[in-house]
Point group: D2
């Protein structure tokens, strides 16, 4: 049976939770998950509420309309999702294919509830995998000159395929402002370091040269500024002087896969809310 998921953020005040839960209750909805958080610094209220539509007295397309007065009263930023309408995902990748491979394996084994109609790359390396999984593959060769033009074509194809979420699974290209704004808070990147340490290029080499005793990986939403967007998930692993640069890469790639897949899973399950440059993750 389908569930509805409501994501809310608004200035905190008395009565929000009571009003929202009453809305669900009076229409005969059965809440299966409800999480809320109050950010004391900004006095912001966040809520994720998920209820079963089994027996719910409003049909799906009437729910938003019915909720609008409440949203207005509390000045809410809000979105509603239905679990029977899967998110459509495009994966961008360059030549390191471990994250792509990992995501597709999870997709195939039912861990990620989404549709993946499209893989885009600036190289041909991922083409065989796309073929194996019967996913459309778009190759867009990139130079400093043609980038904006190629991105326009990418945006077109993304829209044509009704893509909701873009995953940069080690896509070694910096997106332009136009692209980032087009998919605001809908582009997830994996960066192969513990941000904000070692932003930019060659983070494993940077980590190796600095002599850190722990390395990390970070999954975050993409904003204009490089590697500076809201962090969704991070994880770390211990290294030592015995680890060569190659060992760092191997350990790090294992982290990248896990960290990216967790972030993607949470995003698909609508468990992530952005505020300022941070995230609330109702895991």
């Amino acid at each position: 049976m389908s569930h509805a998921i409501l994501l809310i953020s608004c200035p905190d005040q008395k009565g929000i939770t009571a009003t929202v839960t009453n809305f669900v209750y009076t229409h005969n909805g059965n809440i299966v998950h409800a999480d809320q958080h109050i950010d004391e610094q900004s006095n912001t209220f966040f809520m994720r509420i998920e209820w079963s539509l089994d027996g719910f007295k409003l049909v799906k397309k009437k729910i938003a309309e019915a909720f609008r007065p409440i949203a207005k009263k509390f000045a809410m930023t809000w979105e509603i999702y239905f679990t029977d309408k899967p998110t459509r995902v495009a994966i961008f990748v360059s030549r390191h294919l471990h994250c792509l491979h990992d995501l597709l394996y999870r997709y195939k084994s039912g861990q990620l509830s989404c549709e993946i109609p499209l893989i885009i790359s600036n190289h041909s390396d991922a083409q065989p995998i796309a073929k194996e999984f019967r996913i459309k593959f778009g190759k867009f060769s990139l130079t400093s000159k043609n980038k904006r033009e190629q991105e326009k074509r990418q945006i077109e194809i993304l829209k044509k395929e009704n893509v909701d979420l873009v995953i940069l699974a080690r896509y070694q290209q910096i997106l332009t402002r136009q692209f980032v704004l087009e998919f605001k808070n809908r582009i997830i990147n994996i960066h192969h370091s513990f941000l904000p340490a070692f932003a930019g290029q060659n983070p494993y080499l940077q980590a190796f040269q600095r002599g850190v005793k722990i390395i990390g990986a970070t999954s975050h939403y993409v904003i204009e500024e490089l590697d500076a967007g809201p962090i969704i998930e991070q994880d770390t692993v211990r290294v030592s002087h015995r680890d060569s640069l190659r060992d760092l890469v191997q350990k790090g790639e294992d982290l990248e896969k896990v960290v990216l897949s967790r972030a993607v899973r949470w995003a698909l399950e609508k468990k992530v809310l952005c505020y300022g440059n941070k995230t609330v993750v109702f895991d």
Copy 2:
């Protein structure tokens, strides 16, 4: 300003959250934290709701009375706490004093909001620390013969001191059934292994002999069966063939302190609910 904290568990059904949050809202309470969880296996609903009493229309001693009809309607198991009435804690310890020392240092530096009127031991080692922190010290020598009698005296003194929570900070004695029942879900123990591995005596030696690559510590509520109660918190640390038994003990003691103090802090903040032999921790 004081807060009220309501802990609830009951069979899940429609309308619980709406009813409870309405109760707070209609009496002009400002919710500062609300967490809920539904255990799907047992169809049990859990809630922790904390609101400011600033402007609340019911005086503290009327709140329980006013809430009772709601509790009855949903067949709730429930408790209410007020943050201006600190929990009274007794610490039991034997000869390993690192956890006691750590708890008292946190207590002194304001990390643990409680009162600690009493330290109890079957040895004299902790007496100087008790004196340093100006806490009453009760020594109860134990033999297999006098245990029940001594425990009766311990229970008397605990009651006299209005102790709400007993912490076994490496108390190397097995409590009898009478004691455990007297303080059901109010005795927290630290066990120096990753339970259920290495229950019972000498867990570090057991771990060393088994050749594990990771050791752990577990904080749990005490039930009659040894080391088998509801787990509140666990943590682990990596070891290797290079670690001697003594190294395991040193690494492990660092874990014990952190794991026990987290569990105690959550218990003091009324963030732990027991169900069956498990816990919900609204951390």
Copy 3:
């Protein structure tokens, strides 16, 4: 250029390191790695020494002969390996294919220096993957009646393929004594719990029911007693009351892949020595 690797264990006494390193030095070998460990409890000396054969004055097949007097003098248990002779590996699997898939992906991308001529299963699920990677696939249907007979056939085919190392990548069958003895210290298993907790069947369900706050995975050599062999590697991940049994499985499978692949990599690089029921891992 090929390297030689010497693995040694013997009763500790003066002069072992000096004698072994002199052996390499006087034949003009360049040591690239040397690790040693003394187990104080059993007074046992362990060493792994790896040197380049570039310019070494002994040809490969004469090295063992030349070393034998030293080995005899110190009563060594020892083995010599050459990095230009890759280990031949067979993977056993049942119906959960994530570890198999992960190992083959690492194999293909050059992380595991071995040959994998054979995949064996009691089901057909892995056959397409075997085909994709062009690896011979042997299906052996198992019943309580035909087990010993089928194992004999498995051993035959393993010998025919010159298999050095058997990996049980979630092979849901208990090997008989005859098989275990045939490949003593050459069978690596992944168990989906933090051993010795939750040995045997359904460890995720056991962990879920016990209400642990951390789950784990363990890779170990197989001995006759179930899940009781020398542990090579373990790792853990945090869980909470919010994790369903299905969440535990997903988090756990990510651990299994990483833990098994680390253990396999160390075994292939001859970094693991067994003693008693423990391992020394020169990582």
Copy 4:
């Protein structure tokens, strides 16, 4: 019985290990630990060798002399230590006393084999603890004007007390060049972040504002550049949107204590070698 510990680094070439271990063996020394590492990038050889002086044919003060020709031959940087001559330590602290408290507790319980004759601070807060542990306390009020002068006096008293190692246990002052050079590779600092992220002031606030999902602590040798010296040890702990800045501080302080104490213990046991801006830690 006393042990000798030799720390060596030199350009890698054939025969180093053989020569050094022969030196110990021919003088009848019993090696209890030997670790070596070759940094392939810089072709540097590192060794730590520890042997029992029980029955050793050279008296302690003759060992260095006897070893000198070997050191010269291989162009070694080297140091020799004896375990019966404990390192003398001074602890610098400002107003956050948790690390000081933790170190002194470990010291008292025998975990740190050193002498601590001196605690230095720019405030009076630590004076009672110093008194409790009967350690000399030096207060040096600091202004931008008197810093160099006060540091000179600090250096004098450190020399008078024969201090070998300076620990900055949350000393919120930047040492001048003169001080750092006076104690090159002999000053250990704890920084309350996962360096190189959040160097400088208020790392917990920086971490909170950046919205990281993991925080860390770093112990490193002090060089002239702030928070940029060779890292000895790091560790991390998970945080979430539920953690306030105060929670970050509490979790972080637990890390600081463990990370600093590990680094100090390794330094006292002569297990740390610096090279370039990195460390080899023979843990």
